[in-house]
């Protein structure tokens, strides 16, 4: 019995350390690299990019909901990370948080640099978003948002370096 409890505790610690949320599963991602260029995507890259992007969204959703900038460390870097950190800091100061229900992403690779050090991706995301002041919902929207994403390879994963929504595709309440 004691051994089982220790095992469970060890698994819980590992999950917490990995930066993944047990409460939120990673969103569905469709991935199309047919338009990628000038470099052709390697098989392993075609698997790791959508997987890591899904983990990035999972972590970002949790970070924005719980106002925890530490959750960004695993899959965000550069401008994307500093922007989200700033937003979470301001959310915490204002007593706000944002809850996303993620209905999935369609990724289309637009550019993969000749040396494989940067990838530009268009993401058509289906989301529900609630902005809350304390426990009061002040805005609730169902959204179709198009994001332009820059990802760069890290030591063992692809990281989101820039995540910018584009106009015209956002639909209202």
């Amino acid at each position: 019995m004691k051994r089982s409890l220790r095992l469970l505790a060890a698994v819980a610690v590992l999950l917490a350390a990995s930066g993944f949320s047990a409460a939120q599963s990673s969103p569905g991602v469709e991935f199309n690299a047919a338009n990628a260029g000038p470099r052709t995507l390697e098989d392993l890259t075609s698997q790791s990019v959508p997987r890591d992007y899904a983990f990035a969204w999972q972590n970002m959703s949790q970070a924005l909901n719980e106002n925890r900038p530490d959750l960004l460390d695993a899959y965000f870097t550069g401008f994307a990370k500093t922007s989200l950190q700033q937003r979470i800091k301001q959310q915490a100061q204002a007593g706000l948080h944002v809850r996303y229900t993620d209905h999935g992403h369609k990724l289309n690779v637009l550019f993969y640099s000749p040396n494989g050090d940067v990838m530009q991706i268009q993401d058509d995301a289906q989301l529900e978003r609630q902005i809350l002041d304390g426990s009061k919902v002040i805005q609730s929207q169902t959204l179709h948002v198009r994001y332009m994403v820059l990802m760069t390879p890290g030591a063992d994963r692809w990281m989101v370096r820039d995540l910018e929504s584009t106009p015209a595709t956002q639909s209202g309440e």
């Binding site: 000038p38 401008f79 500093t82 922007s83 989200l84 700033q86 937003r87 979470i88 301001q90 959310q91 100061q93 204002a94 007593g95 706000l96 944002v98 637009l110 550019f111 640099s113 000749p114 040396n115 050090d117 940067v118 530009q120 902005i131 002041d133 002040i138 805005q139 948002v145 332009m148 820059l150 820039d162 995540l163 910018e164 929504s165 584009t166 106009p167 015209a168 956002q170 209202g172």
Partner: protein, 285 residues
């Protein structure tokens, strides 16, 4: 009667809720620019501004417009302006990047063999002064300046913020400064163009104190560039005692090794994947 009428009017006024406010934003908003949100109706309550790097909240009272400082919208992307009193009204607006003002330039590799087709790539990302990617078409001017005086340039428009080129390395070993410019901003990276593999590797031998000395002619690549000192050259001797290999680094353009020889021997030379000539030599003197 008058009291009853007054009471009725007051009750009616209380029963009809105040008209909900409407928020109106300008159609074109650039990052970092001050602007105002027009309020139609009751501009009273708590105002929220949510954006890519922004989450602000403050109270407004009887406002016909709400001023938003440029410092609150430095990140391009979609924003939500929300005004809550008894109920909440909101509007979404888009902030686009400001004018291109800087570049992120990725040049690879930092060392490249000479005369190699499309060996160097340069990727430039156009950014505004807040580091937003400028998605509108922008001309990036790439230029290459070699330390031996050669120069070339090429203008390439961005596609969704990115412009890139491939370059063939020069025939002569030299440093190349690769620059990308947009407006007044220029970013530069240096690529060392170094000699390629050895070409026409040739050895000769002579005796020195009863030991055979084998040395190369000056080691050059096929374009005549000196292969860098430190590059390993392998000498292999096959004689009655078996096969022996000696690795020697190039020093001052030449690699040299001493080899004891028993009887007749055959000596060959290689550097990387390049093979040189073979020598047949007699026994020790």
């Amino acid at each position: 009667m008058r009291t009853l009428l007054t009471w009725l009017l007051c009750s009616l006024a209380a029963a009809i809720p105040a008209a909900a406010a409407e928020l109106h934003t300008p159609k074109d908003i650039a990052a970092g620019t001050d602007f105002s949100i027009a309020v139609d109706g009751n501009g009273h309550g708590t105002f929220y501004l949510i954006g890519p790097a922004t989450a602000k909240k403050h109270t407004v009272e009887n406002a016909s417009e709400i001023s938003v400082p440029g410092t609150d919208i430095e990140n391009a992307g979609n924003y939500q302006a929300i005004l809550c009193s008894d109920e909440c009204v909101s509007t979404d607006f888009y902030v686009h990047a400001a004018e291109p003002d800087r570049l992120s330039l990725l040049v690879h590799p930092s060392r490249v063999p000479v005369a190699t087709t499309n060996a160097i790539s340069a990727v430039a990302i156009a950014l505004d002064r807040f580091r937003n990617i400028v998605f509108s078409r922008t001309d990036v001017n790439f230029s290459v300046n070699s330390s031996n005086g050669n120069a070339a340039s090429h203008a390439q428009p961005t596609n969704r913020g990115i412009a890139w080129i491939r370059l063939t390395s020069a025939a002569k070993a030299s440093s190349a400064k690769i620059s990308a410019s947009v407006g007044e901003t220029t970013e530069t990276r240096v690529v060392e163009q170094v000699a390629s593999e050895a070409c026409n590797l040739h050895i000769k031998s002579y005796w020195e104190a009863n030991r055979l000395v084998v040395q190369t002619d000056p080691v050059r690549d096929c374009s005549g560039n000196n292969v860098p000192d430190g590059t390993i050259v392998s000498f292999t001797k096959t004689d009655a005692s078996g096969k022996t290999t000696v690795d020697a680094p190039i020093k001052k353009g030449i690699a040299k090794a001493e080899m004891p020889v028993v009887g007749n021997a055959r000596i060959s030379v290689a550097s990387g994947v390049v093979l040189g000539n073979e020598l047949n030599v007699g026994g020790a003197r």
